[in-house]
Symmetry: none
Subunit: 210 residues, 4 copies
DNA sequence: AATGAATGAGATTTCATTCAT
DNA sequence: AATGAATGAAATCTCATTCAT
């Protein structure tokens, strides 16, 4: 965790400024959409000059990547112990849904911004910006959890890629969009409903006697 | 000799050009993302002058709305008979997943473009463009289907809003994004996996004897 | 008045179309201002295709010049006999004001359009379009009338250029603008007031004993 | 340490740039007409990039309004003390004509531009831009002056609206257009001629004995 | 005689970025 | 560390004009 040689340590002021800018960027993006979140708008919200952003970030891309990094780091740090505390795959899945809901409630704008950026921002090559972030950093290794659950006989024999994709979408799309549509929504209840659905969809040991 | 008043009577040429432009717009959006899909880029792809687009569409908004209208119309016309043919709620849900997969395979770029527009495009007021299209035209009335299924005792007593949201996300996000990530994906199999998951998650009459 | 060789005679239809287009141009210009009077707007008003205008007029300049020519011709033809009927300079000046008011009331839009064009339209060289029309065709030879009046001792010894300029402005600016500001104005009364003012300002031999 | 809220505190540089741009705009408009006075042309004249204008003014409308405000403010500040110094209505009218001529000679392009804008520029609603500036700010309250003169028995009993309109036209149209037609004109003499004419046209108690 | 279709030039405006202070 | 000022590229849209039918 030492500053690598060549990359000078950041002063306290700089760290604070960067955090403030990232926070404001998330707010503006969440409130007005990515397209309207110009550098000028973000600076205005932060009460600073446009060029201050340029001073602290290489370019807009860099700012967006920092926002992504920051959010994902906070998110995973929040989730990790909660998942680790659950021994079973089913418990981990429920913890993933509940924990995500909790974090989303606390950091709504960050998550809304993340979604906007995922769809809108494009790197210089035209490819979406999120692609340049390692995917498994984005969400916990749901695939691995499910694989273990299947091997232990706890989960039925579904296609892991499909189910993990659905579970991720349930959080990063379904839940986020529901929150955007209705900021007063009961997220914990929402997550609980989803947890039940995923329990039914994934558990082995269910006898369907129709 | 006049066309019906209010409906301005499009010539064959105009209809064809409009369709061509909409198609090219979808391609460019799907391939390069909404942000890069400028009028110039669309015109270049179509091999026409920028102003030809202006000649046929009032403005960019108009073009996007036409793309949305066209795609949704084709999509719902494709789905409707398939849903109607299934008597049970479960059948309808499976038909929705299977039919969507089929249509998506055939009109991939249209669906990718729709997703991009949904997230990116904003009308002059800043509100998302998709909001100006009646929502229930976008997808079949999943809520109603589920309600009937619950009343008939076929489906268990889940929260309809949550489950319908998840089902829509499964199609418009999970499946579309999987397709974007891997264009060679087996969509029919993907839909089938999802169908099983939703069957388990929604059916009544399942005895869970753990 | 024979069509000159090389300039083929205009058919009845063509003459009518040209007149219709000129009329519509005047209406649109008068109502929406020169800047908004695009070819498209004029064609729309006339209920014809844009290209019909191009068919009958070389270009927009040509159309504007025709509008100018037409209006000025009608205007002078209307004024000439009225001025000729007055033997005295003072009578001619009053006739100019009264006659202008009459003609303006009858052909309001033409006169409003003329004013708009005078200020807005520019030929290809950038000079105002009205400059390309012989000036003395625009209004009767007020200078000559005043000169005669002075020589006859009827008018006092003012600067002819200044007074003629003021008299023209009184009609082409003061009166027209008053009409534009208030279409229901009593133009005859307005002209009468002006006539009195100019009588006092120009006459020799006035004894004003309140 | 804050500038008064609502008044955004312009730096010296900004004030200078804005003034320069307004000046150049007036020059270009006066020389080439409003229609040709594009942002690009104004920027070219000022030797700056187009976007510098955008940086200092919200849009073209804003620039034009600033030009109008600036010119009218300078004009009225110049006239006011001159009118106030004259006790009689006749004196005020003559001062209005003389003062206008003086100011026009000094700020020719500003006045030419004002005339062009008055006729050409239209706000987003299509109404002329000058309408958005309070009219009585444009020229001194000629009507009030004349009313007082009539009540005092100094002026004869003419229609005030008509005469005030004519007097304004004499300055803002007759004189300005004469100046445009011939930049070397003797404006003071021109104003003097006009003053005599208006004296004769408005005074009570005149005994004209050739 | 008329028209729908197409075009290219040009206008305004937005925006990320750079630079001197 | 911060800022005001400036820039050039690009985007959308309008418009007079041309052409084939």
């Amino acid at each position: 965790m030492q500053p690598k040689p060549g990359r000078p340590a950041r002063t306290f002021t700089e760290v604070a400024r960067r955090a403030q800018i990232v926070e404001c960027a998330a707010d503006v993006i969440a409130e007005t959409g990515y397209a309207r979140a110009s550098m000028a708008a973000i600076a205005r919200r932060a009460g600073i000059a446009k060029s201050v952003i340029s001073y602290h970030f290489a370019d807009k891309n860099d700012l967006m990547q920092e926002l992504i990094r920051t959010t994902i780091a906070a998110y995973t740090q929040f989730l990790e112990p909660r998942l680790a505390a659950e021994p079973s795959a089913g418990g981990k899945i429920r913890a993933y849904l509940d924990g995500s809901a909790q974090h989303m409630a606390a950091r709504t704008n960050m998550h809304l911004a993340l979604l906007e950026i995922a769809f809108n921002a494009a790197g210089p090559d035209g490819r979406p910006l999120l692609a340049s972030i390692p995917l498994d950093a984005h969400t916990p290794a749901l695939e691995q959890i499910m694989r273990h659950g299947q091997q232990a006989g706890e989960l039925r024999n579904f296609d892991i890629e499909v189910m993990a994709g659905l579970l991720r979408s349930a959080v990063t799309h379904t839940m986020v969009l529901a929150l955007r549509a209705n900021p007063a929504i009961d997220l914990a209840g929402y997550a609980s409903e989803l947890a039940t659905a995923f329990h039914l969809a994934t558990s082995a040991q269910i006898t369907n006697s129709q």
